[in-house]
Amino acid sequence: MTRLIAAEILKLRTTRTFYGFLATIVGLTLLVVILTLAFLDPDDVRDEDVGSLLTSGSLTGILILVLGVIGMSGEHRHNTISSTLLAAPDRLRVIGAKAVAYALAGMVLAAAAFLITAAIVYPTLAVLDVDAGPSAGRLAELFFGGLLYAAISGALGVGIGAVVPNQVAALLGAVIVIFVVDPLLITLAPDVGRYTVSSSGFSLADGDEGGGDADSLSPVAGGLVYLGWALAFLGAGWALLARREIV
């Protein structure tokens, strides 16, 4: 299993896709942080405002999910699934290794985004003479919550790509669910909406224990639900791949 994970990580490292996503995530993070800081009123900055700035990771998580979808569905698109399965005929191990690899990649991307944000935010606040920010404990909570969210997002993307091997359909489906279906459910039926893919994921990423939106799940509950979504898609993806004829 270890060598399969290593092979999946090598796959990620040896095309431009991963670096493209890294550049996109870093660029978008910088854009959000710089724009937020530019319009910041130094006299009205609360601890949670700085925390929110540091957890602009929701978008990062979505991009990592998309990376996972591309990674798995790309195996079918480029027919590399044939050579992958020739090297490792056990299809459960193939899906498992890819999920772990994309979870790790997600954590690397999320850590990069968090550290870059922190490296800009704290010196800027110091220059502005703003003495606000989350406590060390809260900071750790935000950091590790973000990493966990990114890891599950990567694995979930792999699961979605395994269930829907057509890359365009998989990406389109994921975008529609995250940006249309889930928000509609959250708005129209909050009791159901908070269990959706995006809502449960955001609950984990925000890490706002007890103080968040009343309609949202707690970070732990959100994390468990989000993990459940990932496992459900990975399980379904494995079941489908196990039956799929590679012709």
């Binding site: 060598r3 399969l4 431009r16 050579s83 090297a87 056990d90 004829e245």
Partner: protein, 308 residues
């Protein structure tokens, strides 16, 4: 029918049947590949060759029968890439990854040293293009990379699906030499093609299929003997062709085409015509055997089955 063969690195297809919906792609097919031999797996497009090979490689599930390597299904092989190397008909490369990295990925997955990538790229003549992205490779370069992929684990068995597809004559010659060299190393090679001429100079044995069924299995030598025995006609050009034809007619030959000085004769051989002409001092300007070649035999064996 189960074939019993001794030795290692043996492929056995036993009563294999595979359907896709109402289409029977492979129909009760059985044959074996002896260790150290090169077997041509021949048949027209849609004959079931690719499906058979993919069943052997565990990529499609047979409805019945088995396809095994050394008595095991592909999924049961402990180190598959070190047992079987495969070239599939559809290329299986990420266009954005270099040839070297393609090999490194698979070597890593199989627990093989990454240095194999460079060794094999040199072997197949792609050392200079190793860091170029596969999307920029020509068809011939992709086929070479596919062969390098197949050899990654230094396997005893090679399964190649239409490896000559798209290759120019130089590439086909290179492939032929390459396969013969691998067979000389004691490897078993099962190579499919829909064109006999592509593999004619490479294979020891041919397995011919049409509409998923076995239509012939014989050594190339037997096939050549059959082709020679079934020589259809002798082309003769002589100023005394009618007289020679008459003499030959007395010995069982018959004229198929009469062009005056040029005739096509059946039921005889070039040796008989030559001897008879010499003994009667009849000048002969041209004497050729319009024999039924291997290709004609291949076509005649598969034509009936292949007809829609």
């Amino acid at each position: 029918m189960l074939y019993q063969c001794e030795g290692v690195a043996q492929i056995v297809i036993d009563s294999l049947t595979k359907r896709f919906g109402s289409t029977v792609a492979v129909d009760d097919l059985s044959f074996a590949v002896e260790p150290g031999t090169v077997v041509g797996f021949l048949g027209p497009n849609g004959a079931g060759k690719t499906t058979t090979l993919r069943a052997l490689l565990g990529l499609v599930r047979p409805d019945s029968g088995t396809a095994t390597i050394d008595g095991r299904s592909y999924a049961q092989l402990p180190d598959p890439l070190e047992t079987v190397g495969a070239v599939l008909e559809r290329s299986a490369f990420h266009p954005g990854r270099s040839g070297r990295n393609h090999l490194r990925v698979l070597a890593t997955a199989a627990g093989l040293p990454g240095s194999r990538a460079d060794e094999l790229l040199t072997l197949v003549g792609l050392a200079d293009a190793r860091d170029k992205r596969v999307g920029g490779y020509s068809l011939g370069m992709r086929q070479r990379l596919a062969l390098a992929t197949a050899l990654l684990g230094d396997p005893q068995v090679l399964v190649l699906d239409e490896p000559a597809n798209g290759l120019d004559p130089l590439g086909i010659r290179w492939l032929r030499d390459f396969l013969r060299a691998r067979a000389a190393e004691g490897r078993s090679v099962l190579v499919s093609s829909h064109v006999l001429a592509e593999v004619e100079q490479t294979v020891d044995t041919v397995v011919m299929v049409a509409r998923g069924r076995l239509v012939a299995e014989s050594s190339l030598e037997e096939l050549r003997t059959r082709a020679s025995a079934g020589a259809g006609a002798v082309k003769l050009r002589s100023p005394q062709a009618p007289r020679l034809a008459q003499l030959l007619g007395e010995r069982g030959a018959r004229v198929v085409q009469d062009g005056g000085d040029t005739m096509l004769l059946a039921g005889t051989t070039s040796e008989m015509v030559g001897d008879l002409a010499a003994s009667h001092r009849i000048p002969v300007y041209e004497l050729t055997t319009e024999g039924q070649g291997l290709e004609e035999i291949f076509l005649s064996l598969t034509a009936d089955q292949a007809a829609p």
